[in-house]
Amino acid sequence: MLLVLLALAVRAAPAERVLRVAYNEDVATFDPDDAILLFGLDAVRVLYEGLVQYKPGTTEIAGWLAQRWSVSPDGLTYRFILHDGVTFHDGRPMTSADVLAYFKRRRHPTLPLSYFLDGVDSMSVPDPHTFIIKLKTPQPAFLDRLASPWAPKVIGPAALVEHAGGDLGVTWLNDHADGTGPFMLAEMVRGQRYVLVRNAHYWGARPYFDRIEILIVPTMNQQMLMLQRGELDIIEHGYPFDQLDKVPAGLKVDAHDALGLEIAYFNRSKALRNRAVRTAVITAINPARWLHEVFGAFATPARSLYPKAMIRGPAPVVFPADLEAARRAIAAVGGVTLEIGYADQEAPVQQRIAEFMVSLLKGIGVTATVRSIPIDQESSMVNDLQRAPDIFIAQDYPDSVHPATQTGVFFETGAALNFFGYSNPTVDALCAQASRITSIAERDRQYLRISDILFADGAFVPLADIKDVIVYRAGLTDLGTRPALPWAVDYGTIRRQ
């Protein structure tokens, strides 16, 4: 009797136009200048809007709050013409002065994502509909930076004036939102759920769903069961690859190209200092030997050190294939012991790859062990290369689809995620040169050349282009996924048939 009563109590009213999704973990904030993680991007982009965005399914840039824009011939001045009739969530109309006030905030160096506006010289608003950004030097990647999922997105005066406090409104925005997007933040109960409700006064196309409920469900096992029971509508990330070919009836799978590239980073300070050993190891860990077992049909061999959604290299990277030569090279140095580290934020997949590598390396006489590296320790590996693993494998995301954001984060000297401190003046010079090229074809050729050098150096080994996979309940359409928008659907376009 008690169980029946309890069961009746938890039975929710039928959900009309409610979309339920889950995050694996809490997000710190939806503040677009402070939200650095991957979970939460889907909510941020419907609470706030930027000047430009990538079109669904492409890497083509389209207007967003800006109905059009122009770039001066010297590449220094960007003039954005803003849409009419845009309002903030509290109903106040948005003008170029609001955009300017917001961009000033974004540049504040205490905010993590302020670096997106590095190189901005000045900003101005000649009239209420025009916003002008002037750069110090031409940056062909600038528009991509503005279209990135982490790009500046306009916050309204409720946060920046009324609730600014002494910290640019950071504290207030931890629990509130004040944007121009099609949804408003109605509830933020940390550890439990966030609720977005449709903005009835939205200036653009009306979203189908009235309400988005984001639940915090830490384990994938539970998310999968909830999806099957209809308690969730979508799993945006983390559905196990080995179960994607047998999703239960009533569920569908969307797999699309993304910017997540699996790379093996080589620590060349220890056993891998020896070029012959590096070549032997690269021979053994050829992704063609394990890719299908780990990812099924949801990954392809990498074509370069750039995701194929960024630069489509002509063909998969060619790995050395002579395993006998690899065995001889290892035997010649009297055996090799390696430690493989993997990024623990994607632990099940990364661990599986690492374990495959261990067995493949054994085949050429290399003894390898595996250890997980927490995300907060990844960038510290460079400080002690002797205690760092010999190989680190990870799937990381650049800021945008412009290749400069990939080289600038991973490959250049002193780059934030240049895990083992690789430094090559030739590569740095080529990167600097490439970042100034405006012709896309020429630019891509230059970056592919850089990729070849890095691979030939045995510093970075491109392994696999991994698709973003979304599992959802049949009947949902117009997911609005984008290659440059990791782990997210577009709540503004998605609908139920």
């Binding site: 029946v4 993590p112 439990q192 069961l225 995300i375 995620l417």
Partner: protein, 329 residues
Amino acid sequence: MWLFLVRRIAALGGVLLAMTVVLFALQQLVPADPARALMGPNAPNSLVEQKRKEMGLDRPMPVRYARYLYQLAHGDLGQSISTHQPVTQDLAHFAPATLELIAAALLLGCLLGAAVALPQALRPSIGGLRLALIGAASVPIFLTGLLLPLLFWYQLGWLPGGGRISPDNFHPGPTGFMTLDAIITGQPRMLLDSLAHLVLPAVTLALPIAVSVGRTLASSLQEVYTQGYIRTARAKGLSEGRVLIRHALRNAAGPPLTMVSLQVAMIFSNILIVERLFAWPGLGSYMVQAFASADLPAVLGVAIVSAVTYLAVAAIVDILRALLDPRLG
């Protein structure tokens, strides 16, 4: 009694101080970078360096530790890296969920333990329930936490498989304890819903407690029943129920109460698993996320709450024992 309380509080202070020293020292050994965690993986090193200075991470450890102690003395536990909120605010938000779950598990564990122990003590030949409980408690807690929702939520649909309350039934209240808030705000549906959400995680946590408490109580009762005053009570014509309640239980309560206080320490380690499995938004979930973000202020905050709770429960148990048995007072 006052001397006892003062001693307890002094011990608590000592434990907390030692704990902060150990955790600070451990932080030095772990090559984590809280500034990087706060600024994001792709942020340029120059920005991260600036943040490091801002957070005082460039200063020597003793200086940082002294600063932390100073803030702690003023009730400031710092700011969480993973939530960007003051840790005290986070603790106030997450602790009620955990404490409510622990209270439910302890209550359930004690009731189940008593249900095992009493028949055992009165008629030692009855062993079915005890066997069943021992069997259930022998299963590792993560397996119980997986199997119970599979059966009662996924297969039968009788109980919710995770979370603390259904969104439709949530009405914020003053305490953060869902069941209490439901009563205070007069929301019967919320009360039933929050109880329904409590059942599976509480049972998962309660099974090992029930067996430990039950076995201790049973053996304690069996010993008490051999005592002369029990025979005297029976000879006076008291019913078995009155003998049990007025004489046996009171004298047998010491060891199981001690066992309860020991179980609290075990609950705090199990809570990390159970909260994760049941998407329970408490300190365990908060702690797991804090670990992943090199979030020392949050980790220390949770450790302090755990220590305080454990010592408080131990103190309450000691007081109860003293009340039940004046010789210990």
